[in-house]
Structure formats: structure tokens, C-alpha cells
Amino acid sequence: MPSATLLGQALISGVLAGGMYGLLAMGLSLSWGLLRLVNLSHFALAFLSAYIVYELGTKYGVAPWWSAAMVVPLMFAVGASQYWLFDRFRVNELASLLITFSFAVIVEAGIQIYWTADYRRFETHYATESIKAGPFFIPVLDLTMCIVASVLAWGTWMWLRKTYVGKGLRAAAEDADIAAAYGVDHRKLAYILSGIGAAYAGIAGTFIALIATLAPAQIWAWLGVVFAVVIIGRLGNPMGALLAGMLIGASESLAMAVLSPAWAPVVSFSVLIVILLWDPEWL
């Protein structure tokens, strides 16, 4: 059995790593839950953003925060354009999965063509900074990411509950025809939401560039676990996505510390199955 310090450190690292799952899950969850579009290209957009941040940083010396200021609005525009396509061709839930999968494969190929399949790493001084809290080390970058993810999750959650746009989106997700008959212009709201979801991919991508090693095939690395997080956190619920991300991150990290790294996916997907069986109304 590992020591208490090791377990504590594993828990902290797991929760912080889970923040990334949550951040990636948020945009996916919003689009799936409120627009009934399963947007697999979310992962591709996050990695495309990461590569752009990497490119701007390594070639032109642009600070990642300035790169984010460019990438995030760009992704918003990409997300809104995607919705234009979905709306124009009346894409349903299943078709959206296939179309966005194809889109992701194309983006992956594009990344491979431009940046090659080599591993890339954006070295910054942020990556090595950490705070010491008692016997534990807390990486500053991961902590910043979790704070950003929490602010976004809470802000989005409030936005969905308090604003006309947010409530209209929730009403339309439940019954689009009835909402329309009460004057809720679902399509207009959907453009905004689709843009926001993709903008979150841009924010996630910025942190991916700083934290992870980049390779085109990495687009798919988090697919399974983030899907589990989206479903555990309830579709369309940003706070749920973040908390589920942290839960899965922590359980994976503890499994790795106590058993071995091979156990991580067993734990996260067992949690998914247990939660689905326990309360299927969540879907």
C-alpha cells in the first residue's frame, strides 16, 4: 500500500488532471445536451488550437495568453459556422456524430500535413512552476487550468439559468416546436451556443499546448474518458461536466497509484457503468 503522502499527491494530481477532462467535456456536453449534436470535432478543434498556440509561441514568441486571445474568437467563429452547416442540412443526432468524426479526421490530417506526426512540446517556464502545500506539490499551470475551468463552468451554468438566451436554449432543447411558438428563436440561440462550445475547445487547447506533448493522433486520446465525463455529468450541464471530470481524474490517478496505470480506464469506465445503472434518468 502506498504512503498517505503518495495517495494525497495522487488525489491532487488526479483532480487537477480531471479539470482538463471537465474543460474538454463542457463544450461537448453543451452541444449534445442543448443542440442534440454530438460534436466529435470538439477534440480536433482543441488540438488545432493547441498547435496554433504552439506555433505562435515557438515561431513568433507570442505569449500563450495572447495566443488564446486570438484562438478563442477564431474557434467561436468555427463553431458558429459548423452550426450553419448542421442547420442548413438538417443534421440529426446520429448524423452529427458521423459528420463531426469525419471533420475531426480531416483536421487531424491537416495537422499532420503541416506539423508532421512528430511529437511537439511547447516549453515554457510555467510548466515547471509549482506551489508547495505541506508535503504536496501543486503545479501552477494545472491549478490555473482548474480555476479557469471552474469559472467557465459556473459562469455557463449561471448563464443557462439566468439569461433569456440560456433559458430559451433549455426550453428549446426540451421542445423546440413549442418554444418556437412562444417566440424563442432556437436557431439564433443555437449559433451562439455552438460558438461558445467551440470557444471552450480553444481555451482547452491553450492549456493542452502548455501541459501536454502534441501529436496528431493525440486528438483521440481523451475521447473515451471525456465521453464518460459528459454522460456522468449529465448532458447540457457544465458544472456536472467539471465535477465528473474531477471525479474521474481522481479515481484514475488513485487507481494508478494503488494498482498500476493499466487500471485507470477500468476504473473510469466502471464508474460510468455503475452511475448509468444506478440512475439512468440522468441521460
Binding site: 439559468r161 433569456y164 433559458k167 430559451g168 433549455r170 426550453a171 426540451e174 421542445d175 416546436d177 413549442i178 418554444a179 418556437a180 411558438a181 412562444y182 417566440g183 424563442v184 428563436d185 432556437h186
Partner: protein, 235 residues
Amino acid sequence: MTDLLVVTGLRAGYGRAVVLSDISFRLGAGEAMAVLGRNGVGKTTLVDSIVGVTRRFDGSLVLEGRELAPLAPEQRAALGLGWVPQERNIFRSLTVEENLTAVARPGPWTLDRLYGFFPRLKERRANSGGALSGGEQQMLAIARALATNPKLLLLDEPTEGLAPIIVEELLSALARLVRSEGLAALIVEQHAHKILPITRSTLILERGRIVHQGPSDELLAEPARLEKFLGVSAR
């Protein structure tokens, strides 16, 4: 009396099926009109056609001089149609208050005024729509339509499936709306005796066509005539 809604030669239905034919009538500003008829004669189709969720084959619908025919449901709603559908269709995952504020438009019907009108909704403001009883859901459906500050309220069988005591409560609320508030309304009802005293005029449908139009009090005074059109349901 100025006309609020003028329907001329309306032919409408669903898919390829024509349900309504040759429907023409006028509804004045502040007028409450009852739409009566047996089951399946097209009463709901008439309301749905005004809202814009049916297929229109011919005819025109003019609200305050604006032709509604080419407009989508959300555009019609913005012009002042407040719909209370037969199935109520409240947003079950939203709270009572969110149901009201999600669709609210500026006007005299503020949240406070709606709660004043339906105190029970105020008590249950934080509950989700799905947690309400049938009667409460109907009140919410009416309040939600009022929250859009409509010029014309369209009610489709508002008392259907509700306990008698709730029906009385709803009818008195409706009477206040159309009499004291002077709100124009088109009210579809199965039970003539409940709605005739509240409304000024009546439209009776039979197999998708209008077979009678006239003041409600005249019909109320002639039970035999009412019986002829509606059979047992008139009682």
C-alpha cells in the same frame, strides 16, 4: 369594433390531409370567442393553424392588418399570439419561474402580476414544471402564454382532464381575463355550458367547416339549437 383577427377562406390540415375547409370569421379587439364542436371536427387544427404549426393549403389569416400565412411560429408569436396548447406542453425541466421568464416579453403582464393572478404558481415558483399537478400545469401554461404579453390568447381545451374544483378556479380566472382585463381570446371547449357565459361570440365547427357563428348569449338561451349541433356534450 375593430378587427383583431380576420380569417378568410382558410383550408388547412396536416401532411396531405385537409382538416379545415372554407373557414372565415372575424374576431374583434377585446373579444372572447368560443370554438365548439364534437370530437375530431378540427377545433385544435384551427388553433394550430393560427399558431402556424399546421399545413395551410389556402386562405389568409390577418392579425391587426399583418398577414400571418408566410410567417414562422416564432414570428407569429412575436406579433402577439399567446398559445395554450391542448397538451399544455410546459417545459418540464425548467422551474415554474423559468417557464415564465424564458418566453417573457415586455408589457403589462409582469412576473409579479402573473403571480398575483395565479398565487399558487408563486408558491411553486422554484419547483420544476414536471413536478406540478395537472391543474397547476394548466395555470402555468396560461401564465406562460400571458407572459409573452399577447394581443390574442388561444386556449385549446383548457379544462380537459382536470378535477371539477380546479375547472371552476380556471374558468373564473379566464372570466376575469376576458371580462376585466379585456383580453381577446379564442377558447376551444368541449363543454358549451362552461364557456358560453364567459365568451361574447361562438363558432361551431362540424367536419372541418363552420356551421354556426353568432353571439354566445343567444345560443345559451336556445338549448335545443345547441343540442342539435353538439349532441350530449352541450349539457
